[in-house]
Amino acid sequence: MTIQFNDETFRDDYSFRNSPWAIKRFPFPFHEDSYMYSVNMEQHRGGPAGSVFEKRFDVDEHYISEMRDRAIVLAEDPLRCQSLPHMTLAGWDLLELIMVSKSEDYPDLFQLYRDGNRWRWVNKPLGIDDSFTFMDETTLPHGPMEYITRQTQGDFAVLDQRDDNLWMDAGMITTQADWSLDFDIGMNFFEWHAPVPLAHEMGIFKRALKFLMNVQQGAPARRLNWTMTVNPLLDTSPENYHKWGIQKTELTAENIGAKQHLRVELQTFYRLPRSNALVFPIRCYLIAFQDLVTMPKWGRRLHRVIRDLPEELATYKGFIANRPLMLEYLSRFDDGLPTSPGVWADLETEPPLQK
């Protein structure tokens, strides 16, 4: 299908909206009525047609507006995109991966022409038509990682693999769930996850690290993660927390359906061939509570998950203060009926709300 790109904002007047198409394909992250950490990895080899899992790098109706928002963030704070000197090769790997994937998966939107190292990249939605020399930084307006991730939705952490660990040595991070690339760059896997509660004790990170270090070329992996955001704000950075934190206190029973958003990260993992680095794209999807509950199964389940979530996790994810308000709203969409297993909305088989 042809994508109709939205003209919308993720700040100030927050004109961001999901179309019915985007609501239907939203990556709802809970496969059962409760949530706890797990190393919930699976292979990233497509998914149901039209789902966000189908393509290697999903492009949706928010593409142009998200890229505009990224450009605003970078103009205000260039430190959101950094690459330690030894990561340039990984940047070229990433540029190649994205250009090849997008031109194959969306030939009507993106085109790549290669003649040896002389490449031409056409990005129709953003109106870009650039010719450059692969592996020659002087022929691009930015470094290779920055160049291509200014044109790709989602944050990107590029991890060097050495000394039996992964090191966050490069990244483009403008839509993050409250962590700072400028602070975390250069850290190893355990260090940058240090602030996460419970999971260390559960051995989650040891198992996850082992899995990730064994992600091999040609066999990418993926998982989902989630948090909560008031207003469709992409840039929930610690850098600007003193500006946006106040918005968390503006929820009311009247506006919560429109203002409160479930924020889901589709995390994918690719081994990069020339550098042996691992790239970790973190794609953020937002959905307002009032849109989410139009899927009866999701409404029932989200209520139960939020109600039963351990206090540490609600605190870490930053919504402990708003949890009572959320539950008051969500309980209206939970009639106590059982839900089908798995993440899909199952609109055809799940009963409508019985109250």
Partner: protein, 206 residues
């Protein structure tokens, strides 16, 4: 007593050990204030086994508020080179010069405050010495070097939580999350969700 046992914390927070002599053709020792005591202990340990250690050592020492208390005793160890300086920034050109023609196998010993250990370790890492191979021992003040995550300014010797950023003036709370690259802990606005509601500052570890 200059030793302090830090409470157990998260994975990014540095932990410190006790300096011990290691074999090597060259030894670089850097300390501030009470960190001198750790170097004196190191020399005493080495004395029993490796009397040549100090003859191959270069000591950079920043006495700070301890003044002359340790200077003569350190000089009496007879290191090959001995430098006493007023601040880390003053000592930095000398440290970089030493690292510029050092060779693999150089043994490094850092002792004193977290600020000194962190800044020196970051210089060493930039020069190509891996973090894990540098010996560190905490002595003296438990003050922290803090980065304001909002304005990026560094506030040295923070001793209370919360504290006021020396650059932008925001009220910041003290996290244990630590960046080796910046040699600093992270400070985050404490009253973002309730402007003006700033708790009384409490001394760290009290």
């Amino acid at each position: 007593m200059s030793k302090f046992q830090f409470p157990q914390s998260i994975a990014s927070r540095p932990v410190y050990g006790t300096l011990a002599p290691r074999p090597g053709k060259a030894h670089l020792m850097m300390a501030d204030a009470e960190g001198a005591e750790a170097l004196l202990d190191l020399a005493a340990q080495a004395g029993a086994r490796d009397s040549g250690l100090m003859a191959k050592a270069h000591i950079l020492y920043l006495p700070r508020q301890t003044g002359e208390a340790f200077v003569d005793r350190l000089r009496a160890l007879n290191p090959a080179q001995f430098y006493v300086g007023p601040s880390f920034d003053a000592a930095l050109p000398r440290l970089r010069r030493v690292l510029s023609d050092a060779h693999m196998g150089l043994q490094v010993y850092l002792a004193g405050t977290e600020g000194l250990i962190g800044r020196a370790a970051a210089e060493l890492a930039a020069a190509g010495i891996p973090v894990g191979s540098v010996q560190t021992e905490h002595r003296g003040s438990v003050a922290r070097r803090m980065q304001c995550v909002h304005c990026k300014g560094i506030t040295e010797d923070v001793i209370t939580d919360p504290f006021v950023c020396a650059h932008c003036g925001l009220n910041l709370f003290v996290r244990d999350h630590y960046s080796r690259r910046l040699a600093a802990f992270q400070g985050v606005c404490i009253d973002a969700e309730d402007p003006g509601n700033v708790p009384e500052p409490v001394e760290l570890y009290r």
